[in-house]
Amino acid sequence: MVKHFDVIVVGAGLAGSAAALTMSRSGLNVCLIERATSPGEKNVTGGVLYGRVLDDLITDWQNKAPVERWIVKNGIGMITSKSLTLFQFETEDFYNPPYNSCTINRANFDLWLAQQAEEAGATLVTNTLVEDLIFKDGYVKGVKTQRPDGELEADIVICADGVNSLLAQKAGLRKKDISPHEVGIGIKEVLLLPIEKINERFGLEENQGSAYEFIGTFLNCVHGGAFLYTNKKTLSLGIVVNLGSLQKAAVQPSMLLEEFKGQPQIQKFIEGGTLVEYSAHMVPEIGLEMVPKLYGNGVMVAGDAAGFVVTNGFTFEGMNYALASGKAAGHTAVLAMKNGDVSAKALAAYQDKINESFIGKNLETYRKVYHVLGNPRLRQEYPQIIEEIAKELFLFDDKPRIKLAKMVRSVVGNKVSMWQVIRDGIDMWRYM
């Protein structure tokens, strides 16, 4: 006999485990299926989690979760071949709990979260790839796995299967496959470094951490950026570049990563670090325009599979969106099961929850950011301009000084027309 659950969740990433935990808590019979041997082993992130979305899901999670460091310093840097201009923000507010954000690694964090779902009663099935959905009378009724007798039935299936979202397509929710210009490819290295060195180089104490994002000439005009985050005993660094842009430029992402690491100012941070892991993953990049239909008869989609990632040009936020959308899908399923109605009409409540939450609101706010991010001047001319302005500001020589405004005008004018700067400025003001 085919085993039956109230809800099957595909993917024990952040979205899936948050959904499973939410539903198990409310007494639903939930099966959480993951293709990896242990949840998190297939997943990659830069590493900064804005975790406050967990507050109402797991009490006191900040003392329980496997966190690397609590972020007290955020920075944005512009790099040219010789210089780094860094804009850094540090506030006392970040020094004490509840912390604003933290670094995590997924193999630990995802396993922990899946265990929370298990403890709440969910059945976690690992080593199992879901290959297809089962349909009956226009409803999704379960999943087909690769195991012998691998069919499992449920009243609702939640697809939390990540950016490739093969199941959202099978469910008919994503009409067309994701395309290269809609996603970034992220590649990452984790470098081992003594704790004292990390603290000294980044100006940190104990469990404090820092998160820096960079753009600059090393990107070779490919749209994207780089990151450098601190973990307990390691650094996470990498690049995220638009896949369409990469194809056009015909460069390999691993080459861009090497360029980034080779920048003299970056070298100072990472010198002596030993590579312990290399990884890669895609990430949704264009926000609202790639969000599929979120629900159908007996089915919902959450997290990266739904394209829920927001970028403001420097940082990527996807993990908090994955957690929040997983919760929202979970709550919707609980209500639908209680009312005995899992039709698309009933599950439309999920869409309302998304629209009302920070997910829908921020996706709307940053709807057009990617148009601005495609601007090549952001990675070539502007970092050079900023370098020259900074030089004029901080370099002393015996030449007479010129007024700031005049200096800026002459530096900028050499590289980009004033009109262009104003137009780019208006775009950034409007969309970022």
Binding site: T37, R106, L129, Q247, A280, M282
Partner: protein, 89 residues
């Protein structure tokens, strides 16, 4: 450090059944060859006899899947329990 040295730092459980296959006869008439640029593990290489592909060492990102427009790539995730195992991620 070249890519193979980097991949040596990654754990894999390899499967004798490759999860991705490439129909190389289609590649012969492909001029854009996106697969050569997008793969973070450089699993696609250009050799004298044409495009070569090795599934072992694949990081399962899916970039080649959505980049090849000619339909030469049959792409699946590895079977449950096989493939890459990130220890940190």
């Amino acid at each position: 450090m070249d890519i193979l040295e980097k991949l040596m730092r990654v754990y894999f459980i390899s499967d004798e059944r490759p999860h991705i296959t490439v129909n190389k006869s289609i590649c012969q008439s492909c001029s854009s060859k996106e697969c050569l640029y997008v793969c973070p593990a450089q699993r696609y290489t250009m050799e004298a006899e044409g495009i070569q592909f090795v599934a072992d060492g694949c990081l399962e990102c899916g970039a080649c899947r959505i980049s090849c427009k000619s339909g030469a790539i049959t792409w699946n995730y590895p079977r449950g329990g096989f493939g890459v195992r990130f220890r940190l991620g």
